[in-house]
């Protein structure tokens, strides 16, 4: 059966990726949500009907709490701003935070997972120990402590997301590296004189990148949610037009008790969609992550 397994292994990445999405509706759904958000963010300035912070007026009066209408699809806020425009501009903030944090999570998680899996010994013990501690920390409170100790803002949010979420990535990368390490071609690299660093970063790293990217895509949703929570609780950057800031303003102005759900529901739904996207992707990738489950 050698030949058969080899054919399977030889699938090349792009076409494999496409086929994978077709075969895994969950992952495809998650990917679609992300793709939509990215498109909206790119074209935010053209899609948004009004500037997000412009205080709109009807005649001389500030256009407060307008209901949904053809002029304002999602109505306006207490200070007379267009909700839809805020929502659309919010995608940029969401993506900026989400992507930066995800890249940071992946970078830290991958490097630590690689070191711990390949080097083993005390390096592995220290990293695993550290990861266990971080995993034990409750996410939101830890972030708030971090944020309150420093100047509130987006940077703190990103740092805390990266600092708190890397262990998940590190764990899976470590376990994949542990099995890659046993592959004969890794040993071959040793025999042919590769340094440990070269083996880790030239031979092993490229093999774990797809998995790392997957974890990164899940982290995007988390990071956006974290940013929103921080902003909602007042630890965010008040000048940034984000979904969290929208929710915080809605809350502060009693939008809930006024029944202005057209104000707070859209950013809430957008956040849920992002988290859902991350969940769908990880769920749809189970076969990729745990190929043994899928084997006959």
């Amino acid at each position: 059966m050698l030949r058969w397994t080899r054919e399977c292994r030889s699938v090349r990445s792009v076409s494999a990726g496409l086929r994978f999405l077709r075969a895994e509706p969950f992952a495809a759904g998650g990917g679609a949500i992300y793709a939509t958000i990215v498109l909206v963010a790119i074209f935010a300035d053209r899609l948004a009907p009004y500037p997000p912070k412009a205080i709109l007026r009807v005649g001389a009066r500030v256009a407060r709490y307008l209901p949904m209408s053809s002029d304002h699809w999602l109505g306006t806020t207490s200070s007379g701003r267009d909700v839809l425009s805020q929502l659309i501009w919010g995608t940029r903030a969401a993506l900026a935070v989400g992507l930066t944090a995800a890249v940071a999570v992946v970078a830290i998680g991958t490097v630590l997972g690689l070191l711990s899996g390949y080097l083993g010994g005390w390096v592995d013990r220290v990293i695993t120990w550290f990861a266990d501690i971080v995993l034990g920390l409750p996410f939101l409170p830890s972030m708030l402590v971090l944020a309150s100790l420093t100047r509130p803002g987006t940077t703190v949010v990103i740092i805390s997301v990266a600092g708190l979420l890397w262990p998940n990535t590190a764990r899976v990368i470590r376990s994949q590296v542990l099995s890659l390490r046993e592959r004969a071609w890794v040993e071959a690299a040793r025999v042919t004189g590769c340094s440990t660093g070269r083996i880790m970063f030239v031979h092993v790293l490229p093999q774990v990148l797809p998995l790392a990217a997957l974890y990164g895509s899940v982290a995007i949703g988390w990071a956006i949610l974290a940013e929103a929570s921080a902003s909602f609780l007042g630890f965010g950057d008040p000048d940034m037009m984000s979904w969290g800031v929208m929710l915080q303003e809605a809350y502060a102005n009693q939008a809930l008790s006024r029944g202005a759900w057209n104000w707070f529901a859209p950013p809430g739904a957008a956040l849920m969609a992002m988290v859902l996207a991350g969940f769908l992707i990880s769920r749809g990738s189970e076969k990729l992550l745990f190929p043994k489950l899928a084997d006959q």
Partner: protein, 332 residues
């Protein structure tokens, strides 16, 4: 009459690139009470043939034509349940990875009893007695029935899977590479178990392997498979000492022998053709040193007790002499 008689069997696998004709027009006869070796290189369709006979093809595979006459019935034409009823009682299959296919979390006794009680319809006490008897038969101490598979060595696991395969007293056992992963001493012991069973129970067996020395040691007949077809078959002595097909001739020189003289081994240049688009004529034509124009046009026909699918079968004696010269096999 043969116990098993396969005619023009075709098995295909559906793949993205199109149907793979893994077994493509196989004819094979297995007499009752004999061990038939099925040899051939990786990917030539040995496992597929074995699975098709047993009716346990993977989802992508299906029998696309031909007959499988077993004890007088064409089991390829039967409905799935009718087939299963026969297959489970009269036929038995030891898959290629049988050693690792034993359930790791169940004691061997439980696994034996499950087969004996649920499929064989035995009572508990009878089943227990039979399980001990079966272990004894394959040279395992019945005490070890209460062990888990991981407490067994590779050879013992292989014996245990043979015992399982024999549980329902089949007439034909298809063993897919039962000794490939074992080292020589254990291999020899397992082969001896099989030869014993054949002698004592009158069992017929198809033994899949890629080692012709194993065939020479344990089999009565041999079928040489190449790229989805049987290219030569007959009594072991005839096929090995007087091969008719150039591929078989090539194999006999590609193998180191423990006692032979110091001749240079000769590889067969090239690789087998793709089963996705098999060649029209002789499957071996691209690698055959004796190829002639007509070989590539039409598939050679074959018949007889010792037969081979080669157009130059009448010149076999001369070809054998040529095949013994290493230069014959040099790539052109």
């Amino acid at each position: 009459m043969s116990l098993l008689s396969v005619r023009d069997l075709v098995v295909t696998y559906a793949t993205r690139a199109g149907p793979v004709r893994a077994v493509d027009g196989v004819n094979l006869d297995v007499p009752a009470g004999s061990i038939t070796g099925l040899v051939g290189e990786s990917g030539c369709g040995k496992s597929t043939l074995g699975r098709a006979l047993m009716g346990v093809l993977p989802d992508a595979g299906r029998i696309a034509g031909g007959q499988i006459m077993f004890e007088g019935t064409d089991i390829a034409a039967l409905s799935a349940p009718a087939r299963r009823a026969i297959a489970w009682r009269r036929l038995s299959f030891i898959p290629q990875t049988a050693m690792n296919a034993l359930d790791p979390v169940q004691r061997l006794r439980a696994q034996m009893l499950e087969v004996l009680i649920e499929r064989g319809g035995l009572g508990k006490a009878d089943a227990l007695a039979r399980a001990s008897e079966l272990f004894h038969l394959v040279g395992l101490d019945p005490i070890r029935l209460s062990d888990y598979p991981h407490q067994f060595s590779g050879g013992m696991r292989q014996r245990a899977s043979i015992a399982l395969a024999l549980a329902l007293e089949p007439a034909l056992v298809i063993a897919d590479e039962p000794v490939t992963a074992l080292d020589v001493i254990v291999q020899r012991q397992v082969l001896d178990v099989m030869r014993n069973l054949q002698a004592r129970l009158g069992l017929a067996m198809i033994l899949v392997t890629h080692d012709i020395a194993v065939v020479a040691y344990a089999c009565d007949r041999v079928a040489v498979m190449y790229a989805g077809r049987i290219v030569e078959s007959g009594p072991v002595a005839d096929v090995l000492e007087n091969p008719l097909h150039p591929y078989t001739m090539g194999l006999t020189h590609a193998f180191p022998d423990l006692y032979g003289d110091d001749m240079t081994l000769v590889p067969i240049d090239g690789t087998p053709p793709s089963l996705l688009h098999p060649p029209a004529g002789c499957r071996f034509a691209a690698r055959c040193p004796f190829v002639q124009p007509r070989c590539a046009e039409e598939p050679p026909v074959t018949d007889g007790d010792h037969h081979a699918a080669c157009w130059r079968i009448d010149e076999a004696a001369e070809l054998r002499a040529l095949a013994a010269i290493p230069a014959t096999w040099m790539p052109k």
